[in-house]
Chain length 339, copies 2
DNA sequence: TAAGATTATGAGAGCGCTCTCAAACTCTTG
DNA sequence: CAAGAGTTTGAGAGCGCTCTCATAATCTTA
């Protein structure tokens, strides 16, 4: 099917290119009859303006980039990202933006592709999910003045200048640890993660909860893991030697790995060791035992990130916005609170 | 940072816009010294051609779309899609294409967005994952002559005209069912799916295996599910009444749901009922018991789809290509073959 | 070394839009 | 109903590339 141009639409409707352009872009001061006639032609022909021409003339592409730095690639299978992507895709569709996806599997891939992204004008803005503290990428997009919103708070040193959407990790961890304390557990371990702000915040919440109830912080009860099931399994094996009564895992995947490790050592969850996770992934509810966990609004996080970005690109120079979403504790069997 | 233009690069290098363009597009007939000088300037300045201008002048955008029709949205969290997306993203990065993502959550979203996609010239080609038989979308992109590759074979009626990449579902199911038969099981049920060609092919393989060993096909041992864990659970509950000795699940998620259902009814896997899945998801290996399943090369599927698409866009009118990838049976504990 | 063939470079048009500016048209209101 | 104000429309330039065509530079070969 031949693609039409503005000129041709104008011809059919008996007006000039300019007028058709005005109709498309919702400009005022067009006679209602004319607007209607043009709109009809557009609808009937299924005309869509050529996006390259549009973007060249207006220097905005209506394309957003969704960036996941190289470190994340292995974790990409996590349903977390699926939800974030769905949310951003939905927000883009609703607002006539197109989401482009940038996953970097190696540093050189990141290097090469990121230069193309920032310097080619292909993209109007970026949503970046950075779960690692340091990102060369961020400074590059700042250099080129590309609006962006980060998912997950950046390190404190750069927080002020960067717009982000995050969940209240500290409060969530506080909730989780407090829950375990209230159930009477005293030796409460943590399966923590390193080098990411979410992990740092969850750690802070865990410590605060213990401190607020007058429990000592036993560093030997804190094991470092990555965010994976396998990582949780390995970390829990180490932790088992310290004989914790309960454990707060910084993610559901870690918690699931921990449960497997506890089982493999012949112990029972929650009777011997109680477990609380973080995320409330779909699997958490159907796990065995069902996982007590901190539910974070993942879809909402992605949605708000995209909407914030749209807002920023509209009203360009404005203070960075920080959005922090509340979380809630979902109590199931793994913490020993319900049978 | 100010973005440079071809003209400016030319000025710095002491040549015309045209020459710089030639260097960028690897045209022959440039003096090596000149080529070198221009290339140096480009490298030093980090210059990237403006993609809108390029795409307007050349009428190709170097953007590929990755489309997942509305039906799939709930299943999108399946790690299958994460892998496919990663593979396509990688192939795009390697070939200077940008992958754009189109997920449709409702039919009206699909309607509106798809018109924009096909008619705006934003996209040079599409990879579509259609696990549903019928797609209005496909006929739309055919109308506009947009090259595309489908992941998963289309229905036979349209197979000849459509390029696709698929795994050998029939052979995989044949392998799975034959494995169960060889282990001595006779009443072998199937947790099947409806309205998708992958399911139809797996069903065919299952039936063929039974037929080849002279076993009767007992339709009452075949239950219809969707591809989810919950679907598998529900379907297995029904199937339990027929007392199968073994069951072939058309996906790992279904198999996991089935195992949960079998457990909940007080029976053991594999001692009372053996289970075989399909996919070999990461979870399959660490499931309890570890799942015997048919491994399909998911990443490879995505990679080949993207590469086929690149190939098609280069050499436009050519016969549709059909790529079918082999699968293999991975034997673990759930089928009762190993303890 | 002159003429023709070949190679290297630049000038110019044009891709399909947006946006400014000027012209034409429609209201007011005295 | 003429003059001024406001509203509606069209013409034209320009966004930064690619691609064709003409010209300039270089290489052949007699």
């Amino acid at each position: 099917m031949k693609r039409l141009t503005l000129e041709e639409i104008g011809q059919i409707a008996g007006v000039s290119r300019s007028t058709v352009s005005r109709v498309i872009n919702d400009h005022p001061n067009i006679r209602p009859a004319v607007r209607q006639r043009v709109a009809d032609v557009i609808r009937e022909t299924g005309y869509q303006p050529n996006s390259a021409a549009r973007s060249l003339a207006s220097s905005q592409s209506r394309v957003f980039g969704l960036v996941m730095p190289s470190i994340l690639q292995s974790a990409f299978a996590d349903p977390y990202y699926a939800l974030v992507i769905q949310a951003i895709s939905h927000a883009c569709n609703q607002n006539d933006y197109t989401p482009a996806l940038f996953l970097f599997q190696t540093l050189e891939e990141e290097e090469k592709t990121s230069q193309r992204i920032v310097a080619s004008g292909l993209i109007d803005g970026l949503v970046i999910t950075a779960d690692t503290i340091e990102s060369a990428f961020v400074s590059k997009i700042q250099q080129y003045d590309i609006p962006f919103v980060q998912i997950g708070r950046p390190p404190r040193s750069s927080m002020a200048d960067i717009s982000y959407v995050d969940v209240d990790n500290e409060a969530g961890a506080y909730l989780a640890a407090s829950h375990l304390i209230q159930l009477g557990y005293r030796r409460i371990g943590q399966l923590a993660t390193a080098h990411n702000t979410a992990g740092a915040d969850r750690d802070a919440g865990y410590r605060q909860a213990l401190a607020d109830r007058g429990l000592p912080i036993d560093e030997s009860l804190i094991e470092i893991s990555d965010f994976s099931e396998a990582g949780g399994y390995a970390a829990m094996r180490n932790l088992l030697e310290r004989q914790p009564e309960a454990v707060f895992a910084q993610s559901d995947a870690i918690a699931l790995g921990a449960i497997r490790a506890i089982r493999d050592s012949g112990l029972n969850v929650p009777d011997d060791i109680a477990v609380v996770g973080f995320d409330d992934m779909p699997l958490a509810a159907s796990a065995d035992p069902p996982l007590t966990t901190v539910r974070q609004p993942i879809y909402r996080t992605g949605l708000l990130a995209a909407e914030a970005l749209i807002d920023i690109t509209r009203t360009s120079p404005m203070p960075a916005r920080h959005i922090v979403l509340p979380v809630e504790l979902v109590i199931r069997a793994s913490s020993g609170a319900v049978s």
